[in-house]
Symmetry: C2
Subunit: 336 residues, 2 copies
Amino acid sequence: MPEFRQNLATREWVIIARERAKRPEQYKVVTARPAPPPFSEKCPFCPGHEEQTPEPHLVVPNGGPWKIRVVPNRFAALAPELSPDRHRMGRYLFAEGYGIAEVVIETPRHDLSIATMRDETVASILDAYAERYRAIAHRPAINLITIFRNHGPLAGTSLEHPHSQIIATPIVPPHVQDPINNAHAYFNNEGRCVFCDILTEETDVKVRTIEETEHFLCFVPFAARSPFETRIYPKRHWGAFSGTTPEERRDLGGVLRRALGRIHRALNNPDYNFIIRSAPIMGEDVRYYHWYILIVPKVTTPAGFELGTGIYINTSVPEDCAALLRDTEPAAIAEA
Amino acid sequence: MPEFRQNLATREWVIIARERAKRPEQYKVVTARPAPPPFSEKCPFCPGHEEQTPEPHLVVPNGGPWKIRVVPNRFAALAPELSPDRHRMGRYLFAEGYGIAEVVIETPRHDLSIATMRDETVASILDAYAERYRAIAHRPAINLITIFRNHGPLAGTSLEHPHSQIIATPIVPPHVQDPINNAHAYFNNEGRCVFCDILTEETDVKVRTIEETEHFLCFVPFAARSPFETRIYPKRHWGAFSGTTPEERRDLGGVLRRALGRIHRALNNPDYNFIIRSAPIMGEDVRYYHWYILIVPKVTTPAGFELGTGIYINTSVPEDCAALLRDTEPAAIAEA
């Protein structure tokens, strides 16, 4: 029997199409991407090519030339020298494309991915995110900072070298604000953070848990929109990623690496996006919103119904996807 | 200079990345899909294979066996024999997958598409949509009817035979309801329907118009989320597609065919989705909401930023896309 399931936080619904559901292992990528070389002469992010990127905002040193570099995005869709003021163009609103776009070059090695890095390396990347988040948050016209990673062409990137991105905008759009308003309404009704309640529910029933650590719960959400959607929620209530402690980021380095490592092995290195969602700036200590990581493997294609209604038809069962990931050994670490 | 633009109706923002924008003709599909045969022995929708689909709800007769068939979707994600009641599963809400899913087989010819049909054929398809819409709307537990078309694998279909779909749900999700609430707030402030105001603005400035007819305006929206996004708005204010007159549907048949015909020729037959958006059932005569058609050619891939914020980075300029489509002769009609 197909079923509707509601995302408790956003109030959006999905359809779990049990009749049409494939077995989870059928979502495996059939033609694996060729393994990249450890160094590429043509890659602007590989060591020795530092002059091909703008002046870095942050360089994390290493025994070698560098461990992590954070640079302005050379092909940025937004620019910090513009104005955040809104104007009217006829009946419409527009603004100059003010904002910040940075690229986090995660490692000198062209062939790694978070799934195959050492946990300490992933934790250092998270430290770099947090440092840049805090620096960018000081700009008065910036209201939202989104950290994300695109892995592979179906996830919207053609650049192979391991990297993630930080985009900061003056605008908090409805897509972000509406779920926050829902969370606020939930808090006013129930007296508790909706994300904390989801954590309690998932810890009670355990059927969608992939892994639990001291500080984090990694699970497939009840109302997953697509096969193998994965979430990582911090157990400690806080609105923004920037409020994590170094100790929490050490823990998260392992949780994130293993989550992506399980997806890597179970699905044969699929393309994916991950996003770190935080409350808007200056609302990081709100009691009703909770930062989290969303991982979306790109193994299905949304169609007209999804586009038209926002109701995703998920042709997998979240509990089955969680069971498969829980039972999968993460991919081997390729970093020395 | 990049710019933020706001969708007046939904309040969502896009980034028009002028610096990164390609010329519109660069979105042309490079490797064209092979032309399908007029009849396929393996196709369940081709004439002579009627026993492969469930009993039809509607058959539009022709000189031949039939002109259009509307059948229940054999692989439906929803089923009419289930219950629309919501239940709790722990802290979450769920419901049986009650709903209606029908397939509109648009023509006996396997090789046509709306872009290559005669205008009268497209008008007959629109008549079939309207007839089924009105029949389904009588069911008391149905609250939303979405009509859509998936063209090609990037749009989520593997079935080549020309078809569209109708899905009716008991649920009106936030993705649909939130823009309606925005339109309501706009109406309360301004005293006018926001869609009527968009029509006035577009008719005033004309820079994004593709075609204007007696009853419709076809244009690229100011805040298009992706290259060649196209909208068709009825000039007469009404909340739902089912309220169209036969005369309006004759006109719309030509407008829709030419819009898709221009996209077909300009972009070399790209995959696309179109969606007919209507107000929920029993709200079809509201003064603040207006039905419309949204066409989305699948020529770019949304990435983590789009997924995380709902702010789409459009690497084309809406005015340039409109100019190219306006100047493109629609694809040749392949129907005798």
